[in-house]
Symmetry: C2
Subunit: 149 residues, 2 copies
DNA sequence: GAATAAATGAGATTCATTCTCAACAAGGAC
DNA sequence: GTCCTTGTTGAGAATGAATCTCATTTATTC
């Protein structure tokens, strides 16, 4: 398999910090990019086990902040008292609509909103690094379901 | 002291659920509205102790979801692995700029953004109940500080 | 091939939050 | 009033995601 671009990015990021792209880190990285949805630490750990990667949960927890700092993943939301992430390299930023009843999450574009946030950041001389916009309520499905009762 | 409007609101909310505005709940409510900044459960508990209200921490944790559901407070952010709230009754919604270095939080208006969110919610038939928009990065202060080193 | 610094797994620990449970109050029916 | 149901509370136990400790291993530098 050819070297992925995300691997180069992570490897360079690590090198800049005097760290190395070890096998466990590479396996975690690959697992993260094998997933195409939101995940928490435990789910990522499960994926690693399925892929026969011998990585401990401690190392998963240790690697997540590195992936965050490298910009390859983002912290997306907190659900059921777990931190939820997703990879963002190669994906446009988006916002999350979270149904409080069924827990479903859907995504929409940030295009309309970004310019305002960027302008506001500039006005305050705030160096924006990351952000999250999560909207809670009832999805159309649950809304209808509630109505029919 | 005259009865506060928030008390009426909370009382009615509770009644609708078959619950009562007991003394501990009233004391928690008053403590929440005596604060004019973000707070977490422990900080609220401290305020209650200072005000000589004999309320247990368990009751604080039990009352926060009720206050949330009543719409009197909102969950503002998560900081240092604590859930942070603030009362919103009588305050305009706003977004948070959180400095990752000094931990400071500043607020700006949501006016520019709200219409887009509301339109987007309508388009998806999503019933929006709550949301949070938190922006992480470096405040101007920390940005300058880092530059001068 | 020493010396140094980073990395790891296993298991212990932390600590915000939730749960359990026994005791207590409020309110309605009679 | 008493009985009964339901809600409320404090104290302390339990939970569990996330972090930390430490002994051991691995890579890098000189
Ligand atoms: Mn997403
Ligand atoms: Mn605020
Ligand atoms: Zn739903
Ligand atoms: Zn700062």
């Amino acid at each position: 398999m050819q070297e992925q671009e995300y691997e180069q990015i992570f490897s360079r990021f690590l090198a800049k910090k005097g760290l190395r792209l070890t096998l466990p880190r590479k396996q975690i990285l690959d697992a993260v990019f094998s997933l195409h949805s939101h995940f928490d630490a435990e789910q990522l750990f499960d994926v690693l086990r399925i892929r026969n990667a011998e990585v401990s949960l401690a190392t998963v927890y240790r690697t997540l902040p590195l992936l965050l700092e490298s910009g390859l993943i983002q912290h997306s939301m907190r659900q059921e008292s777990r931190d939820v992430y997703e990879h963002i390299f190669g994906h446009p930023r988006h916002l999350h609509w979270i149904c409080r009843q069924c827990g479903s999450v859907s995504e929409t574009s940030l295009d309309d909103i970004m310019p305002y946030l960027e302008r506001s950041a500039r006005e305050q001389h705030f160096e924006l690094e990351d952000f999250s916009l999560n909207l809670m309520g009832l999805c159309w499905r649950c809304k209808n379901e509630n109505r029919n009762q």
